[in-house]
């Protein structure tokens, strides 16, 4: 394996290909190490899809569409195989999540991303965005390969094989708004926001966009799930930001915390106008930092108009959770999110846990501070080691105490 600096891996997380290799060697290692628990010899499987579906990005635009179901399980059990918010609520372990994902069979279809319409007469498309699990049968051309696919942003995909036939025996039930939008001319971003505002959960919107069901009909494409997730998070966030324009700021400093899957989040909200500072600190010997001796840290900053210094799926997910909470309160704030990743986060199971853990953190009650420096000091002190603190300080000028000066500091009457 070529020598790749661990800081690069911590930034890349397997999906930006910063090292320039065609596939991520760390993700590849996972594929071979974590054998799927499910051994399926048969070429047919029956059961409810939770629903669960994924579009891969390999070979784009000739992409693979995966339709997944846990064989032989009832509707309610099946639902739990694709239930991020429930997993977080029940604090499901990393081990169990991998087990849940790997006990689903994935039927794979090759589709040209530029013609999603070719799927419109397939029942499984609608089953994939149903509000409840849908009874289905899949027939594969050969027994599925017992391996797992990880990409860092999406949930892992279990053993898969080429589909010979997918038959939906139950009745897919779509959210009425989605049912309307599939046959509508609205642009994808309008459709995403409309669905979100009608209460459709982001995971269903991810799948609908990914499967080419949203947007101006002639512009529709199948969108690899990993890209669709960030696109949906960013589109909703942009809308939330615009809905919050001209809203007053919060007036105290609030600190929220939560931990799940070896990831600790500290979220600091303080009076301001909508700046975000995202700082990630990876301890050595972790998922992306196996060979590192020192912790690696890096940051993304985003201004109130939504311009970020970098694109990061984790940041997108966390920012969405924070903006949702501010939107409910009708307030704006400046935000610091500190994410500490310990080595116990050993498999990249997707960015859903970031979205959901930050949501849960913000649902709790905050600790209040009078001084931002105290809040930041406390957040830094909660990091496991002094090396991690040093890395975080090095990455973020804001944590070091550098404050943006505003015109109002020099001209207080300016409103």
């Amino acid at each position: 394996m070529p020598r790749i600096p661990p800081e690069l891996c911590a930034r890349c997380k397997g999906y930006k290909r910063l090292c320039g290799l065609p596939t991520c060697p760390i993700l590849e290692r996972f594929r071979s190490q974590l054998r799927a628990t499910l051994k399926v010899d048969a070429t047919t499987a029956e059961g409810y899809t939770p629903p669960s579906a994924l579009v891969g990005e390999h070979d784009y635009p000739r992409v693979s569409v995966y339709y997944m179901l846990p064989p032989g399980e009832g509707a309610e059990e099946a639902r739990y195989h694709d239930a991020p918010s429930l997993w977080v609520e029940r604090r499901e372990s990393l081990h169990n999540i991998i087990r849940l994902r790997s006990s689903m069979v994935a039927a794979r279809l090759r589709v040209d991303a530029r013609s999603p319409q070719s799927l419109y007469d397939k029942e499984f498309l609608y089953a994939s965005v149903s509000v409840a699990p849908v009874d289905s049968e899949v027939e594969l051309a050969r027994p599925p390969t017992p391996r797992l696919i990880f990409d860092g942003i999406s949930k892992p995909v279990g053993p898969s094989g080429p589909a010979r036939r997918i038959r939906v025996t139950g009745n897919p039930r779509l959210h009425p708004r989605l049912e309307k939008l599939v046959w509508d001319e609205a642009t994808a971003s309008t459709a995403i926001v409309e669905l979100y505002r009608s209460g459709v959960d982001v995971y269903t919107i991810h799948r609908a966009l990914s499967l080419g069901m949203l947007g101006r009909p002639r512009n529709r494409r199948l969108v690899p799930t990993r890209w669709a997730i960030t696109a949906v998070d960013d589109t909703i966030s942009r809308w939330l930001r615009s809905a919050l324009r001209d809203r007053p700021s919060i007036d105290t400093i609030e600190v929220y915390r939560a931990e799940y899957l070896g990831n600790r989040f500290t979220i600091i909200l303080y009076p301001g106008s909508g700046w975000f500072e995202w700082v990630e600190v990876w301890h050595p010997a972790g998922l992306w930092t196996r060979r590192a001796r020192e912790p690696s840290a890096w940051r993304v900053a985003e201004d109130p108009l939504g311009r970020a210094t970098d694109v990061d799926g984790g940041f997108s997910a966390a920012r969405l959770a924070v903006l949702e909470s501010l939107y409910r309160r009708g307030r704006v704030a400046d935000v610091i999110i500190l994410r500490e990743i310990t080595p116990s986060y050993y498999a990249p199971v997707g960015n859903w846990h970031i979205r959901e853990t930050v949501r849960r953190a913000l649902a709790g009650s905050p600790v209040r501070f009078d001084d931002l420096n105290d809040a930041v000091g406390e957040a830094l002190a909660s990091l496991e080691t002094p090396e991690a603190q040093r890395a975080a300080l090095k990455a973020s000028p804001l944590l070091r105490g550098v404050r943006r000066s505003r015109l109002t500091d020099y001209w207080p009457e300016l409103g």
Partner: protein, 255 residues
């Protein structure tokens, strides 16, 4: 029956120049209001982070036609307006017609393109009369020179430093994260500084991102006036040949 309010009608000679102004606006704010008074057109906007304030003044004499009997405000979405201005061609004229409900934009060239928007209600920033601080340094340089200096500085980092050590020299530096940097030395002697006033030696730093936001204005102005003091806001003034000016006030970076 009450008389219907007359629509305000103005006609600007160069749609592309107007586009360059709107480009700069679009970088700091998403909705803006254009206030038309009998004397001229004014746009004032502060970015949501309160780091920069832009103040655009186009006197009625800068227009081909200017018929505004009473004050009226046109509120619009900047990205939306920009999108259609980009469709314009060099030499097109820009006509605006504003009523309290609608804004009609016409780009007049070989063909006439007409767009109608709703007149949005946009919250204007409260800007009290006079600046509460003065500038110890004022330098007039060619707008292009300023643009080059910002672009050079950008190659090394996120911060630009201005230093006026004496009455002859102005340094424009890019400050890198690890102490590296790039420096442009401008002097009165060599003619790069057209007018220079230095009351005391000053040095101050500003965000390059925020300076980049207004670089499109260097296309419509010949000169840029840089005014600053140590660790305090910078005022950039772009004066247009066709009359009118844009002031850009930017908070310093304090580290």
């Amino acid at each position: 029956m009450p008389a219907e309010t007359m629509a305000a009608k103005i006609s600007y000679p160069d749609a592309k120049a107007f586009q360059n102004i709107v480009e700069a606006l679009s970088k700091i704010i998403d909705e803006v209001s254009l206030k038309l008074t009998p004397e001229g057109a004014r746009i004032r906007a502060m970015d949501p982070a309160k780091i920069a304030l832009i103040d655009i003044w186009l006197p009625s004499s800068a227009f081909l036609e200017y018929s505004v009997e009473e004050e009226v405000t046109a509120g619009f979405n900047v990205a939306g307006l920009l999108k259609l201005l980009r469709r314009g061609r060099r030499g097109d004229r820009l006509d605006l017609e504003v009523t309290p409900e609608k804004i009609t934009v016409r780009m007049v060239g070989d063909v006439v393109k007409k767009y109608v928007f709703n007149n949005l209600e946009v919250l204007e920033p409260e800007i009290p009369g006079e600046l509460p601080f003065t500038f110890k340094v004022s330098a007039t340089i060619l707008a292009d020179l300023f643009k080059e200096a910002v672009k050079d500085a950008e190659t090394v980092g996120e911060t630009m430093e201005l230093e006026a050590p004496d009455e002859n020299t102005l340094y424009i530096r890019g400050v890198g994260a690890e102490g590296g940097g790039v420096e442009a030395r401008l002097t009165v002697e060599a003619g790069q500084i057209i007018e220079y006033r230095v009351e005391e030696p000053c040095k101050s730093r500003y965000s390059i991102d925020y300076l980049k936001y207004v670089l499109s204005l260097t296309k419509v102005a010949d000169t840029a006036i840089l005014e600053f003091s140590s660790n305090s806001p910078l005022r950039l003034r772009f004066t247009m040949p066709s009359e009118g000016r844009v002031d850009y006030l930017l908070a310093p970076k304090i580290e």
